[in-house]
Symmetry: C2
Subunit: 194 residues, 2 copies
DNA sequence: GTCTATAAGCCGATAGAC
DNA sequence: GTCTATCGGCTTATAGAC
């Protein structure tokens, strides 16, 4: 069926774009390179996407749910109180960052590249992604009866995104464990004053 | 004198590059654009710099000391204990981030763009810059007799760089004040257990 | 929906004159 | 040290056939 084939082609293009954009950066990767990696011609790519900007947005949109679910899985499978479970996210992230292909957070790196285009569709997708994580964490902390769970969720997010940036710069994943300790300290402090 | 003229021309090129690279991103700005903004021809630019990569490194190198001194000034002119003085850095940064031309941290944005070139000269300059800030803060905290001042300095750095990334994404400088509160909490906690 | 072919222009970098 | 002029290649995007 033509529709099914179209959908599958589109997926292959997004998948190839995701691999290249994440590995090399958005502006460093040409539309030609994405088309070739996907095994289609440029004309086919432009049939499925209006522009390169449209393709960038599709790349980030495809990473939204998988990334969120990974964080939630790491939280869920860590045993202990909520501070320990949050610290588990940082520990797992440090492990992931030791993989040679790790290149930081695709959402943050894209937003850094598109800093001069605040209204870019990809910027809105990235902002919404980070907000979803913050809201999810807010709920987890509020369930524990923590006062100021909203502020605390933001502080953990700041430590998380800070560790993405710093580890990308120094190539030293131990900063992520240090960030996790800080997050656990702040949460424990809040728990102790319930 | 020819030497003096050469030096001044070089400075004008670096200054024009800094303005454009920071405002629009490294890969979004062409060598032609930098030359035109500096009021020289491309041939003159290539007389002073071996390559665009060389120019990028000169841009970041020129921002190293001014940025560090700004942070130190904000720390020095804030009244109070060391936790309050560190929080003063975040408060001043939040004020700076409200300027319409603010586009995050040039060092972090450059490292995000060059993530696929770990050995790039600009990456080493950026990493050294952040390390200098961390070391300076480490000394300030150690002077206060804090145990684990090295870990604490890293956690403040993580909050600082996290706030650069998050504020750039959401365009909401209040995250910087939230990060400053977290930094102050962590420092106060360490002070109380001396 | 996918192809071949190409437009129109910008990219980093260089040649050679003065 | 700065200029004019230009190279070869790559860029996003499109025309038109099937």
């Amino acid at each position: 069926m033509t529709m099914a084939a179209a959908s599958s082609t589109r997926d292959r293009i997004v998948s190839a774009a995701a691999k290249l954009f994440y590995a090399e950066g958005i502006r460093a990767v040409s539309v030609d390179a994405v088309a070739e990696a996907a095994g289609v011609t440029k004309r086919t790519l432009y049939y499925h996407f209006d522009s390169k900007d449209d393709l960038i947005a599709a790349y980030l949109d495809g990473r939204d749910q998988p990334n969120l679910q990974l964080f939630q899985k790491w939280f869920a499978e860590t045993e202990g109180d909520v501070a320990t479970k949050v610290e588990g996210i940082f520990r797992n992230l440090a492990r992931a960052a030791r993989h040679p292909k790790w290149k930081g957070c695709g959402f943050l790196r894209t937003s850094a590249e598109l800093a001069n285009m605040p209204g870019h569709p990809a910027m809105r997708i990235a902002a919404a992604h980070k907000k979803k994580f913050e809201n999810w964490l807010h709920q987890r902390l509020e369930t524990e009866g923590i006062d100021g769970a909203d502020v605390l969720a933001r502080q953990v997010l700041l430590l998380l995104d800070g560790s993405f940036a710093v580890v990308l710069l120094h190539r030293d994943p131990s900063y992520m464990e240090t960030a996790g300790m800080a997050a656990a300290s702040l949460i424990t402090l809040a728990l102790s004053s319930r």
